[in-house]
């Protein structure tokens, strides 16, 4: 697979060639799509390898590609303060089993971002220490950033009784 001239992708392909499904570096953003089951392995390598040293998870989010299979994509943006380089890692998650391994053990900052993805997309993070809704309330029904969530659906107002 092509490393697109990125030293980060070259190192990743060298260490875990079978985990990577696709790479590109459009607009200068090195990106690798990896297998869902290999995600922790890949992230661990990116964090701990002396050539990579991604000690910072800047963002963790998801995309709903309704109509495609697998439907969801979880996206990680990593930054290395020591080496001043960035990479974007993606993993596809299917609709019928929307779950992926949690990255909290690697970067504690993943905690709230994974809760947000769970809240709004309904993607379950295995081994997350405290996977509760973070923006909405527990009685909220559904995951509103899924493309098939009915936009005009009204949820019950939940609050203290007066």
């Amino acid at each position: 697979m092509d490393d697109c001239g990125s030293p980060v992708l070259r190192r990743l392909l060298e260490a875990l060639p079978d985990a990577v499904e696709e790479t590109h570096a459009r607009l200068g953003d090195a990106t690798a799509r990896v297998g869902r089951s290999r995600i922790v392995e890949v992230l661990q390598l990116l964090r701990d390898d002396p050539e990579l040293e991604f000690e910072m998870l800047t963002d963790l989010t998801a995309v709903d590609y309704l109509g495609e299979e697998p439907r969801f994509e979880v996206v990680y943006h990593l930054y290395s303060v020591a080496k001043n380089h960035r990479v974007r890692i993606k993993a596809r998650v299917a609709e019928d089993a929307p779950e992926i391994e949690s990255a909290v053990a690697l970067w504690p900052s993943a905690n709230w971002m994974e809760r947000e993805v769970w809240d709004l997309y309904g993607i379950h993070f295995r081994n997350h220490p405290d996977l509760r809704r973070i923006l909405l309330y527990e009685q909220f029904d559904g995951h509103p950033l899924r493309k098939d969530y009915p936009k005009e659906k009204r949820q019950p107002l939940v609050g203290p009784r007066n």
Partner: protein, 200 residues
């Protein structure tokens, strides 16, 4: 009846026609140093020019609220200056900015904590109707949970519009009848639903 035949418009009524015998005696003694009026009118006059407002500010309209409260537009000129940050001490609830589904029960609680008499000012499109947001998170107008006295649309409304809305509210306050011992306004219970659902 045509206007020219109406005696009240063609000729000013005399003191005797307008007031009781006793009031006329007083008036003749005191010249024009006092007037007679209704209790309602005096009370309402006091109320409309001494409103303490509660700024329930949640979003971008707050900037325009600061503008109208600041010295250039100066809402103080209209007797509505002093923000109270306790609902128990305020009589005008200024709801400024987007109200989300999660914020709605809090707004309702603040409204219920205010002492009578109280009025509600809907400041901005979001508060009036949900404004630009028709989605899972936004309440589609606060009048779905509390009564509103004046709506000032705009995203955000200009300060002049807010002052105009305030003056309209004051005209409305002046016209109110103060009920004898009754509540100023009925408060409906918020359609709060405490859903019993196991947490996943």
């Amino acid at each position: 009846m045509s206007e020219s035949n109406d005696p009240t418009t063609t000729r000013p009524r005399s003191l005797e026609e307008r007031h009781s015998q006793r009031a006329v005696e007083y008036l003749r003694q005191g010249g024009d140093s006092f007037q007679t009026t209704r209790v309602d009118a005096v009370l309402n006059w006091g109320r409309k020019y001494s409103m303490f407002l509660y700024p329930f500010v949640t979003a971008c309209c707050g900037m325009e609220f600061m503008s109208v409260a600041g010295p250039r537009y100066d809402i103080d000129r209209f007797g509505c200056a002093l923000p109270r940050f306790s609902p128990r001490q305020s009589d005008l609830l200024m709801v400024v900015g987007t109200i989300t589904q999660r914020q709605a029960p809090i707004l309702k609680k603040v409204y219920d904590q205010m002492a009578e008499p109280k009025w509600v000012f809907a400041f901005g499109a979001c508060v009036c109707s949900g404004g630009p947001y028709n989605n899972y998170a936004t309440l589609q107008g606060i009048d779905t949970i509390i009564p509103v006295d004046v709506y000032v649309p705009g995203c955000p409304p200009r300060p002049e519009a807010v002052l105009d809305g305030l003056m309209k509210l004051q005209a409305r306050v002046q016209a109110e009848r103060v009920p004898a011992g009754g509540r100023h306004r009925e408060t409906d219970d918020l359609p709060l639903q405490v859903v019993e659902k196991p947490v996943a």
